[in-house]
């Protein structure tokens, strides 16, 4: 039996006395490619942060490859949602990706780290921009740099928060192409509110709105879409035209 990539048991978490996630049970197999969908404020990012060990659950537990999240960080790569940094921030593309190879206090970056950065930048087709200051890129290019930063430590679990948000439509294709290359090497979890675009590419879907409404293969969900869309998502617009959603 192989170790599950992520195992979540009876997880609940509060934020400012508000229950954000309630009784979440979710297991993600190694090499799964899963999209977590749901409305804004449904707890998607929160769930990712619990998996990453940035937030601690109030109840229940999370295991990442059998370990506590904080102890499994060397196995995880992370693409945060929109980043807010100073427009003139003195950092270039190469240095940005290099921070993904951080080893610890008093430990410098090695030749191997530099090679890994070159590799990651080539993977996302941003090598030619390696000396560019980070703000001097388009939204889509910047996103690819941050993807490179997430995969540069060759994680076993890649976690992406709204990776499509700032990618222009023509880049979506190359994004999924990259994902299909990566998914043989690692487990991928991405959060999205755009089910239509996502569902044709990922293998599994989890629908989250405070509670977990459905999780499983996309194919099965096709028959029981009703089930998924129990969560009131007006955001599900692209793939499923004219569907009237019930208020939950």
């Amino acid at each position: 039996m192989t170790l599950k990539a992520v195992e979540i048991n009876n997880l609940s978490i509060k934020y400012n006395e508000q229950l954000v996630l309630k009784d979440i049970n979710l297991s993600i197999e190694d090499k799964d490619f899963m999209a977590i969908i749901g409305p804004n404020g449904g707890g998607k990012s929160t769930l990712l942060k619990v998996i990453l060990g940035i937030l601690n659950p109030d109840n229940g537990g999370v295991k990442v490859f059998g370990r506590e999240p904080k102890k499994a960080r060397d196995l995880m790569g992370y693409l945060p949602q929109n980043l807010d940094f100073d427009h003139d921030f003195p950092i270039n593309v190469f240095e940005t990706v290099l921070t993904g190879r951080y080893h610890g206090l008093f430990k410098g970056y090695t030749k191997e780290d530099h090679n890994a950065v070159w590799h990651a930048l080539k993977d996302v087709e941003m090598y030619d921009f390696k000396d560019r200051q980070i703000s001097r890129l388009s939204g889509g290019q910047m996103q690819r740099v941050f993807i490179a930063r997430a995969i540069v430590r060759e994680p076993k679990l890649l976690i992406m928060d709204e990776p499509m948000a700032s990618i222009d439509p023509e880049m979506q294709h190359s994004f999924y192409e990259l994902m299909s290359r990566l998914k043989n090497k690692m487990t991928i979890i991405l959060v999205s509110h755009d089910v239509g675009a996502v569902s044709t590419h990922v293998d599994k879907i989890a629908c989250l709105n405070q509670k977990l409404f459905y999780h499983g293969p996309v194919e099965d969900s096709a028959n029981g879409l009703e089930e998924i869309y129990h969560c009131p998502i007006e955001l599900i617009s692209h793939g499923i035209p004219h569907r009237v959603l019930r208020e939950h």
Binding site: I54, M76, D86, D88, F89, P90, T99, G100, G104, L105
Partner: protein, 264 residues
């Protein structure tokens, strides 16, 4: 023209200008790119509490400001970790409470506080050898710490959350950065005073970041610009017999405006 270099107090003032510019160039660069300017302003005002404590205890006010401003910096950095008070509110409170503590200590101190004004608005011409030694020591500490933790400071300044995920002790590094801000504040107190020093912290780095996208170059450039502008302010204040701290700030502000328009 150069006759004022003959005066010892002038020589000391120029050395002081160099020493403050190093602290400002190095730590000020982080302050500007990490956008903790107002937080640094709060730490600088809070340092006045330490100055008052120094008067009260009869020790060198600059030395007394060191632990005081470090503790305030830790307090403000920690406040968002343990309470749900926003950092912004914390800044506002610390800003005035530090000053108030200073004023009360000075009230409690018998007699008249002679050079109180210089701690508020700076007086680079009265910097003595002890002050220079303190400034030099703190500069050495600041530069050494920044050199040792340069990777961490860069990563945390750019993206604190991601840094945490790659296993970097973000909070610790952030606190260390605030401690450096506190030490730099102490370096600057005698020269521009707690009220004006935030200009010296921000302006050289803000000018420089328009011209380079490399952090090391930014720090060096900000230091050089700091030395030039502070010295210029010092000379002008001498020629026109104006308060040195305020003149330095005005020169910095003018340089910022000019550089902003030159850039376009």
């Amino acid at each position: 023209m150069l006759e004022f270099f003959q005066y010892q107090f002038m020589q000391r003032a120029f050395i002081a200008a160099v020493l403050v510019s190093i602290a400002c160039g190095v730590v000020g660069s982080y302050v500007v790119i990490k956008r903790i300017v107002s937080l640094s302003g709060a730490i600088s005002h809070a340092a006045f509490g330490g100055v008052g404590l120094g008067y009260f205890l009869g020790v060198n006010p600059v030395l007394a400001a060191i632990p005081f401003s470090i503790i305030s910096a830790m307090g403000i950095g920690g406040i968002r970790q343990i309470t749900n008070i926003s950092e912004d509110t914390g800044i506002g409170i610390l800003w005035s409470v530090g000053m108030a503590i200073g004023v009360i200590f000075i009230n409690l101190t018998p007699g008249y506080a002679p050079d109180l004004f210089s701690y508020l608005f700076g007086s680079i011409l009265t910097v003595n050898n002890t002050d220079l030694l303190i400034m030099l020591t703190l500069d050495v500490i600041i530069v050494a710490v920044v050199y040792i933790f340069r990777r961490e400071f860069l990563a945390v300044s750019f993206d604190e959350e991601f840094s945490k995920v790659v296993g970097l002790p973000s909070l610790l590094i952030y606190m260390l950065l605030l401690a450096l801000v506190a030490l730099s504040v102490v370096v600057l107190i005698k020269v521009v005073g707690v009220i004006l020093l935030i200009a010296l912290f921000t302006i050289p780095a803000a000018i420089s970041k328009q011209y380079t996208y490399n952090l090391r170059k930014l720090m060096i450039l900000a230091t050089i610009i700091g030395i030039i502008l502070t010295s210029l302010g010092l000379i002008l204040s001498y020629i026109f017999n104006l308060a040195s701290g305020a003149t330095i700030v005005m020169v910095l502000a003018a340089a910022f405006v000019i550089s902003y328009y030159l850039k376009d």
